[in-house]
Each structure stands twice: as C-alpha cells, then as structure tokens.
C-alpha cells in the first residue's frame, strides 16, 4: 500500500528514462519493454526522478493544472501503482526528505488531462539483449593483470 509520504524512486539499475519533446520515454533495460507518458504524465515522472513523495507530486500538479485535489490524488496514486507494478519505480519505506519545490510563476493554470502510461511490449526481444548496463560499474583496466592472465 503506497502511503502519501512514501518516497518514490526510479529503479536506476534497470530503468533508463529521458524527457524529450515533453514526452517521458522509459525503458526497462532488463525486459526491453518501453513506455511513454506525455503532458501530465511526463511532469509526474520528472517529479519522481526529483525525489518527490506522493503528496508533493499532488501539490505540484494542483499548482500547475486546473484540477481538483481529489482527481489529482486519485490519478497520481493510480499512475504510481502502475509504475511500481511495471517495476519502473519502487516505494521506499523512509519518509521523503523536504524537496525544493519549484514555484511556478504562471498566472493561469493549464488544462488538465489524466496521465496515461503507454506500454509497448512489441520490441522486447530486440531491445533487451544488448542494452547499456547502468548496473555494471566501470572496472578499472590494469594492463599488468591483463598480461598475467594471458600467460
């Protein structure tokens, strides 16, 4: 059960993500399944990457978009549950540290659209074999060790 103060963390070992043209592209490097979210979804992903907890996400959405608190909370919870189910994000037991929330200067709120996680499983075999591997650390190369091994 996800609580309002839980810290949300992208799984940086297996997940690569970037926001391009206002769209979040997320790849599970282990399965090759990839995802997209635009508009509100991309903004929520950006907040998750910034270490926001659920409450802070909702507060930021309310600042930016023309939406009720009830609807925003329901949407954010549903989306986060989906992200957790797809193993893109995990929920930490620890409470989130205070965030430096960006204050928005806009006077008029933007129209709101429920965030949607689009899931693409069609290229799993193609993408999962040879992905970059953030879980594998750079290992210092030692020429002397190398020569020893050749003997």
């Amino acid at each position: 059960m996800i609580k309002i103060h839980n810290r949300l963390c992208p799984d940086k070992e297996e997940v690569a993500a970037k926001i391009m043209d206002g769209e979040a592209i997320i790849i599970n490097l282990s399965t090759g399944v990839y995802y997209s979210m635009d508009n509100v979804g991309a903004v929520i992903w950006e907040m998750i990457e910034g270490g926001f907890n659920l409450e802070e996400c909702v507060a930021a959405i309310l600042e930016r978009y023309d939406v009720s608190c009830k609807e925003a909370l329901a949407d954010v919870k549903r989306l986060v549950e989906e992200l957790v189910e797809e193993k893109l994000v995990y929920v930490s037991d620890q409470e989130a540290p205070p965030q430096n929330k960006r204050r928005l200067t806009q006077q008029q709120k933007l129209p709101y659209e429920s965030p949607k996680l689009n899931i693409y499983r069609d290229m799993g075999d193609l993408l999962a074999l040879d992905p970059p591997t953030p879980g594998l650390k750079e290992i210092p190369w030692k020429e002397s060790d190398d020569e020893d091994l050749d003997e």
Binding site: A16, A17, K18, M20, D21, E23, I25, I27, S30, T31, Y34, S36, Y120, D122, M123, G124, D125, L126, L127, A128, L129, D130, P131, P132, T133, P134, L136, E138, I139, W141, D145, D146, L149, D150
Partner: protein, 252 residues
C-alpha cells in the same frame, strides 16, 4: 538437417570488426575457421587499433584479409568490411565473441530450405571472463544469464543484397547501430528467421563497448526508441500495417 550434404557451397564473407582486440582475436578467428561450413573469406575490419591487432591478423597469413581505418566506431568498421565483402552472404563476429562450430551450417540450411529468407539470426549466450566471477554471480538468475534471442550482428547471416536494399549500418550511432539496422530491416519487410539454437557466445569482460560507453549509450538508446516510436505512430496514423517481430520461447 541432412540437407547439408546436398548443399552447394555458397559464398559467405565473415566480417570481424575490431578495435584494440588483440587479447581475444585469435579465439574469435579460430571459431570462424572451425566452422563445419567454411566461409569463403574472413575480413578483419580494424577500427584504428593501437595494440597488437595487426600482428595477430598477420599470423593467419592470407587466410584472413585485413582492412584498416582511423577510429570511427563499430558501425563504420562493419561498413568497411561490407564494402570489401565478395560473398553472396555476409556474417559478422565481434573480435571477442565466439561461434558454435555449426553456426553457419545450421543457418545456411535454413536459407536452402527457405529461399525467400533475407536474414537468419540465432540465440546467444552471454558468458563472463573468470575475473568477473562476482558479476556473474550477481546476474545468476537474471535474463542476461539465459539464452537470449540474438538481435545483434554477431548472430546475423544475411544476403548481401539486403544491405543494398535497406542500407548499411548507421555510423551516427555508437551503441545501438545494430538494433537500428534490425528495426530498419523489419520496417522494410525483410523475411527473417530466429533459430532456437544457441550458436553464439558473447563474452562479457572489462571493456565491452556497452560498459565503456554506458552513460552515453543510455542517452542514445532512449533517443533511438523515441525516434522509432514517433515513426511508428506516424505510420500507424496512415496505415493499419505494422512490422512484426517473432516471439522467442527462450527469452524468459
């Protein structure tokens, strides 16, 4: 597989792109020379190595051809090999990986059984060098430790004419140039077959390209997926067709 005896020898060019690969290059070349279906030529495409790579190739005398270019990335090295290849078919093997002795024979059997085939790939098994035993343990139950469908050039045997039709490898990409080529092939309607057999062994070691360029390649990978997604969305807006990838029963 008895068809092997009835086969006429076809011309296969094996292209080995290499950059500072002296350590494993002999094993790689030997695994090509040990094929039960012998290729007609082996071309080492050296991407500006500064180690003993040319000396290793010289040990093979005229059995192995050697081409050199200033360092320009793996896609450019593969293209260099392609430009020299004379075979009706082309295969690729990176200078640290290995083939099963029957790799080419089993793939050629499929081309004889299915003349419409444009390219054939196989499953691939990763293996770790002994120094990385801890990493091997870390991935024991991971997908990367299991046989995987090999959408990589190491497994590829393709008709050379396919490259004339859909183009060579994209030299602007440093990491996912092979993935981009496979996707382009599928989008062009190329006929392919994925063999269930593990016929390629991929060595994971200290200086794999994906490891060396990890953070840069993540960015390239994401951009590539976004571009592909945009293309597909545009295509699906104008057509009901989409390219299909065969599902592997070994992947999970």
């Amino acid at each position: 597989m008895n068809k092997r005896n009835d086969m006429k020898p076809s011309l296969i060019s094996c292209i080995v792109p290499v950059f500072n690969g002296e350590r494993y290059l002999r094993e790689t070349l030997n695994s090509i020379l040990e094929q039960t279906y012998r290729p007609s030529e082996i071309v080492v495409a050296d991407d500006g190595s500064t180690d003993g790579t040319p000396k290793v190739v010289a040990e093979y005398n005229e059995t192995v051809s050697y081409l050199w270019q200033p360092n320009a990335g793996p896609a450019a090295a593969r293209n260099l090999g392609l430009s020299a290849a004379q075979g009706e078919f082309v295969a690729f093997l990176d200078a640290d990986d290995l083939w099963h002795p029957e790799k080419l024979a089993r793939q050629m059997a499929r081309f004889h059984a299915r003349p419409e085939l444009d390219f054939c790939i196989t499953h691939v098994q990763n293996f770790w060098i002994p120094e990385l035993v801890e990493e091997k343990k870390q991935f024991r139950n991971h997908r990367r430790s299991k046989p995987l469908p090999g959408y990589v050039t190491h497994t590829l045997l393709a008709r050379r004419t396919l490259f004339e039709k859909i183009g060579q490898f994209n030299t602007a990409l440093r990491h996912c140039d092979d993935t981009e080529w496979f996707l382009r092939a599928m989008e062009h309607g190329a006929v392919m077959e994925l063999l269930p057999d593990v016929l390629v062994y991929r060595r994971l070691h200290h200086s794999n390209l994906s490891r060396r360029h990890s953070s840069a390649s993540v960015d390239e990978y994401l951009r590539f997926v976004k571009a592909s997604l945009d293309r597909r969305r545009r295509h699906s807006a104008t057509s009901s067709e989409s390219c299909k990838f065969p599902k592997s029963d070994k992947s999970d």
